[in-house]
Subunit: 323 residues, 2 copies
């Protein structure tokens, strides 16, 4: 039994026999031989409690969410290839170009990862590509940071372990204020439950064992930094109650129900999302708000059945990985 | 970006809109609507140290290995479906049939998982299918136990979390004496490093961030129980040295090198495997012995280049999962 439903395992056409070499089968296919690539699933949080700490490895959140097959791909292309975007005439002190969906971008946690892995003195291009909405609670910044950590480690043979790379990305995200728990959840995949906050070695995770189709609609952004800069005591108390409920019954249905209650109790529910949740419920489905965004997610075809035109994805059972 | 190179995401044809229902798209495709299915990657250990303990959740091994895309699929079919093998006239006290590749089988850790999940009073069939050699160091028994835990939990709505299911399978494997570390490694996937022994909540894992093609040849079985019943002090000292070496340089090449040294120092190297490792080395490749079996694995096309006719698979970047 091979876990490859497509039957198109690229290993059978792998023309690179170099021992110890990173596998280049996929890169050869796409014509970018010199790049290292990583995929990181999107992640929508249903509920959370915030746990700031002076040590950014200990800081983080408790909570739960869903990793999505729709995610972020990061490619790192070293400069000795032909693929490096031209930098002639640039006065930018960093020799690394970061692009998001083809446009020059300043993604603070990505820059922090490059710095932490001592990659900035090297010359490379970092390409971040995603079909997910940015800033709407899908964990794009965390995914960009974690994908950059994996791909840079591979491209420049930094010699870090997986846990170390997850920690570097988690710290970058926490210090940038763009998220508290997406990175460790995206490293695990599936339906991660963040039992204790923090990077590997500090936090701990469990998961809801389930799979299935997910639909989502995003009505726009909600600032993570703005919410987290307010008094989060009430929010966190609601998040801890939701976590306790889910740990007593680790199922998808209970995740959605406790997430709906959290959004109300934490005062985060926005009108468009509240209306969508009600309409999905009226149609016999189950939905919840994605934290932190003006985003609604539903199980199965819940949003379609309620008359929306949602994006469709699936629960992604695997964590972040090199391609 | 979607992590689905085949472009055949079954979610887009999912005809089951039931809210909270386990996704049945794959089952519908294969015509077995009532079954719950799980895939667990194979796992080859390169080196290990044994850590027995009176508490089977604390017992386990340190070490490292490689999760393989070739693995084990477990299907659980409740009796109210048509698919249950007929048991009329049977005097077997267990109402659950366990089959391995279509033949009735007595897999002790699978029976233990069924008992731990209180599944034995229910009527069902458990089908375990694999193309991997059995008893040759590919973790088939651990995969069967973990896949059974995931599929039974899903089929009978047992309400256990992922960590609990991994713990149930780990305990079943440890108590059966069929393995010490495969289950936790197979739950993680990739190239797991077992830093501390034991089930989730007791042990801890890291990983080597790498991917690529793997070849293997198996010359037959080596009894895990027989090796583990001997004095393992020398073996474990060699395993601890190898772990320290790998943690200093968590790369594929160092995993293979420290595994070769472990096999020699632990006195486990068998002649066919030693010869294959040498021939792969002569051809410019890298190979190591799979513990515990008369098995050799190589990176890339190492065994082909050395004149063998190996099985071909890949490093499997994901852990065990429901299908």
């Amino acid at each position: 039994m091979t876990d490859d439903p497509s039957g198109t395992d690229p290993s059978t056409t792998d023309a690179d026999p170099r021992v110890g070499a990173v596998d280049r089968a996929s890169a050869v296919d796409s014509g970018t031989d010199a790049s290292s690539r990583a995929f990181v699933p999107g992640h929508v949080t249903g509920f959370f409690s915030a746990h700031p700490d002076e040590n950014p490895r200990s800081a983080g959140s408790r909570g739960a969410g869903i990793a999505l097959a729709e995610g972020v791909e990061v490619s790192v292309v070293p400069a000795d290839g032909d693929e490096l975007p031209s930098r002639s005439g640039s006065t930018d002190p960093s020799p690394i170009d970061v692009r998001l969906n083809g446009e020059g971008a300043d993604i603070e946690p990505v820059e922090a990862v490059l710095s932490a892995l001592d990659a900035t003195p090297r010359t490379a291009g970092v390409e971040v590509e995603t079909d997910l909405p940015v800033g709407a609670g899908f964990g794009v910044s965390g995914a960009a940071a974690l994908g950059t950590a994996l791909a840079v480690n591979d491209a420049f043979a930094c010699g870090r372990s997986e846990n170390e790379l997850v920690a570097v990305a988690h710290v970058a995200e926490v210090e940038a204020g763009t998220g508290l728990g997406d990175v460790v959840a995206q490293a695990r995949g599936g339906i991660p439950i963040r039992i204790e906050p923090g990077a590997p070695g500090y936090g701990s995770l469990d998961g809801v064992p389930a799979t299935g189709r997910i639909e989502y609609v995003s009505f726009g952004e909600l600032s993570t930094a703005a919410v987290l800069s307010e008094d989060t005591a009430g929010l966190s108390a609601a998040g801890e109650r939701a976590l306790s409920t889910l740990r007593d019954d680790p199922t998808l249905s209970t995740l959605l129900a406790s997430s709906r209650r959290f959004a109300r109790e934490a005062g985060l529910l926005v009108p468009e999302v509240a209306e969508a949740i009600d309409l999905v419920d009226d149609a016999g489905g189950e939905a919840a708000m994605g934290m932190l965004g003006r985003t609604v997610i539903a199980l199965g075809d819940g949003l379609s059945a309620a008359g929306y035109d949602p994006d469709v994805t699936r629960i992604h059972q695997a964590g972040a990985r090199l391609l």
